[in-house]
């Protein structure tokens, strides 16, 4: 008897009758059927729910990394922590550290595949619109900054290379800065003051996605911090107005800092070259900066690491799923074997009345598949409900991928078939004479 025979034997009309019969037989032992299906329900439900939670967590992390740009290498200036060398030096009033133009020129000259570099430098201070002030940051950068950082200009425009060359006093505000500084006005065309300099607003750019995401997490409290309150001006304009050395008078102490560049984003032409290029850049920086006064971030690295983590997570999840479905399947098999023994007489009667072996196999297989299928459906429903509830009450992001419920359900049905085959064949192989005599 082959599987194909069983399928052929079950024409549509017979299938319908067999399903009705299956429902009746299962209904005779409601509690038993329900408990048996429970094994599958929890297996399927836990798989979908865990997958949704894991997917949600890694989705957020990956999105943030992707926003940084997978072809980019991001370099930041960092204030050195232990100043052993600075102590030996002549005590200077000015603390000098960070990335320099020299680094950029060297990278462009020696590292193959470096496409564009986006340098930026920042000055922190209060930004004014008449009497309205915001604790913000002036960011000196280049005209291709929005394109490189994947940030859209929402209103007006970004500054041009010509404005860079001429050190034009123009600026672009981030969305949240514009909202704070000009709560009632359209900012484009108006001016912003910082210290003694005035800048004409020519555009509004969207917030840094990472900052925006963080702000969303803690609504209401975010606006007071300086995060994301950026005003972008041409690099040359920043230098003209504020010089090379930055002075800070905050909280009673005086500090003078000289940083040429706060951040450099290097874009590598070929995605495959990102890793070697990042290594080359690392070498240049190691040679130029004896103190580690920079930080290098390779989003591609982070992304790959995140993906690897997710892979491991998926393997763990897969094993848990397999185990739970295995347990469920064994439960089903156990009950079906008991059912077959209990219904030996019925099997004998059916055989006497003309049922072939394959009819008996079909009958019992349909019952197990219905058990596991019903369990699977219920599991899918619960598995979708649980992440929704978690998102609603705990605020955790969850992602239910369309294939997860479909996969979990089909695996549950397959479990039914797999664990139903043995009991079904055992039923079919019974000797009709003995089955009829069975009490």
């Amino acid at each position: 008897m082959k599987v194909i025979d069983i399928i052929n034997g079950a024409s549509l009309f017979r299938l319908k009758r067999a399903v009705i019969l299956g429902v009746k037989s299962l209904w005779m032992h409601k509690l038993r059927s329900m408990l048996t299906a429970m094994g599958i329900v929890f297996g399927v439900c836990s798989v979908i729910a865990m997958l949704a939670i894991g997917e949600g967590a890694s989705y957020e992390a990956q999105q943030q990394i992707k926003d940084l740009g997978s072809q980019n290498v991001i370099l930041e200036s960092v204030k050195p922590t232990n100043n052993t060398t600075a102590g030996e030096q002549e005590r200077s009033l000015i603390l000098e550290y960070g990335l320099t133009y020299h680094d950029i020129l060297q990278m462009q000259a020696t590292v193959p595949g470096v496409e564009v570099t986006v340098p930026s430098r920042e000055v922190k201070d209060f930004l004014w619109n008449r009497t309205n002030s915001v604790d913000g940051v002036v960011l000196g950068t280049v005209s291709w900054y929005p394109k490189m950082k994947n940030r859209d200009v929402l209103r007006g425009r970004f500054f041009t290379e010509l404005e860079m060359a001429s050190s034009a006093p123009v600026c672009v505000l981030t969305q949240s800065l514009a909202r704070q500084l000009f709560p009632l006005d359209e900012p484009v065309g108006l001016t912003v003051r910082m210290r003694t300099s005035y800048f004409r607003v020519i555009g509004v750019i969207e917030d840094d996605p990472a900052v925006a995401a963080a702000a969303e997490g803690m609504e209401g409290t975010s606006q007071s911090s300086g995060e994301g309150m950026e005003m972008m001006v041409p690099m040359s304009t920043l230098k003209d107005h504020f010089g090379d050395v930055l002075f800070k008078y905050r909280s009673g102490s005086f500090e003078a800092v000289k940083v040429e560049l706060h951040e450099v984003t290097v874009r590598i032409e070929d995605p495959d070259q990102v890793k070697p290029a990042a290594q080359a850049i690392q070498h240049i920086l190691e040679r130029n900066h004896k103190d580690v006064d920079y930080k290098m971030t390779v989003p591609l690295d982070l992304l790959q690491r995140a993906e690897r983590t997710k892979q491991i997570f998926n393997i763990v999840l897969g094993s848990i799923a397999a185990i739970s479905l295995l347990v469920g399947g064994i439960g089903i098999m156990n009950i079906m074997l008991a059912t077959v023994t209990e219904r030996t007489r019925e099997i004998g009667i059916r055989r006497a009345l003309g049922a072939k072996k394959k009819d008996i196999v079909t009958q019992f297989l349909i019952e197990t598949v219905m058990l596991s299928g019903a369990g699977g459906l219920l599991g899918v429903a619960l598995g979708i409900a649980i992440p929704v509830i978690i998102t609603h009450f705990a605020g955790m992001k969850t992602v239910i991928e369309f294939w997860a419920p479909a996969m979990a359900f089909s695996i549950s049905v397959m479990t039914g078939v797999l664990f139903g085959i043995y009991p079904a064949f055992r039923a079919a192989d019974m000797n009709p004479v003995e089955a009829l005599r069975h009490e």
Binding site: R350, G354, K357, D359, V433
Partner: protein, 236 residues
């Protein structure tokens, strides 16, 4: 005394033997059985316990196959058929009536009658019509949707009769059909058998009840696995 009809037999056993091996011993449950059963026969097969009645029923009912010999049912040899074909023959050519009714508990009266039709592949509509008609014929027209456990023994046995008739079989086999019934229900069932035989059905009753022998025109007695008496073999 009844005479052997001139028509072709519906069942013919030629030299049938059934042996069971129990350890080192071989038990011969049936020996050298030659038997012809004709359409319209109404037969009691009698014998003491251990005389081979059950084995005879199993062989005649195609539930088991003879160790030696040939069994012709409606003209074709069924002693060498595969399990699959044997199932088909059982459903189509034979109707079973058991001592303990053997109805399927989770099915209603109509559905129980439909079971053999289902395995023969009869369409749902047609099988429902046949089942309702037969249920009405055995007097259960008002209880179509009852479950077996809601019926008396006599009623259950009538469902079993309707079920045995559903595929219009060549032969109906009844195994101690009245054994579990009180005398009134039992005689009701026997009356139905009489009517069926009057309609031309072939009935074989397997029983240990001597009273049955007086009811049926033909009596076959088994003793130690052999046919010890057959009405048709007696001189007039």
């Amino acid at each position: 005394m009844s005479r052997r009809p001139d028509t072709d037999p519906v069942i013919e056993l030629r030299g049938v033997e059934k042996h069971y091996t129990m350890g080192e011993f071989t038990v011969k449950a049936l020996q050298k059985v030659n038997l012809k059963i004709y359409p319209g026969d109404y037969i009691s097969i009698l014998g003491p316990s251990g005389g081979g009645k059950s084995t005879m029923l199993n062989i005649l009912g195609c539930l088991d196959q003879p160790t030696i010999g040939e069994y012709f049912l409606s003209g074709s040899d069924v002693s060498q058929l595969s399990d699959n074909d044997l199932s088909k023959v059982r459903g189509k050519e034979l109707g079973f009536i058991f001592q303990s009714y053997n109805l399927i508990q989770q099915l209603t009266v109509v559905e129980n009658i439909e079971v053999p039709l289902y395995y023969q592949g009869v369409s749902e509509k047609e099988s429902r019509e046949i089942a309702v008609e037969l249920a009405t014929k055995v007097g259960l027209g008002t209880r179509l949707d009852h479950r077996p456990n809601e019926l008396s023994g006599g009623q259950q046995q009538r469902v079993a009769i309707a079920r045995a008739l559903s595929c219009d079989p060549a032969v109906i086999l009844a195994d101690e059909a009245t054994g579990n019934l009180d005398s009134k229900s039992g005689s009701d069932i026997l009356r139905i058998f009489d009517e069926l035989n009057a309609e031309g059905k072939t009935l074989i009753m397997i029983t240990h009840d001597e009273a049955m022998a007086e009811r049926t025109p033909r009596v076959i007695r088994l003793k130690d696995g052999e046919v010890a008496f057959d009405t048709y073999d007696q001189p007039d």
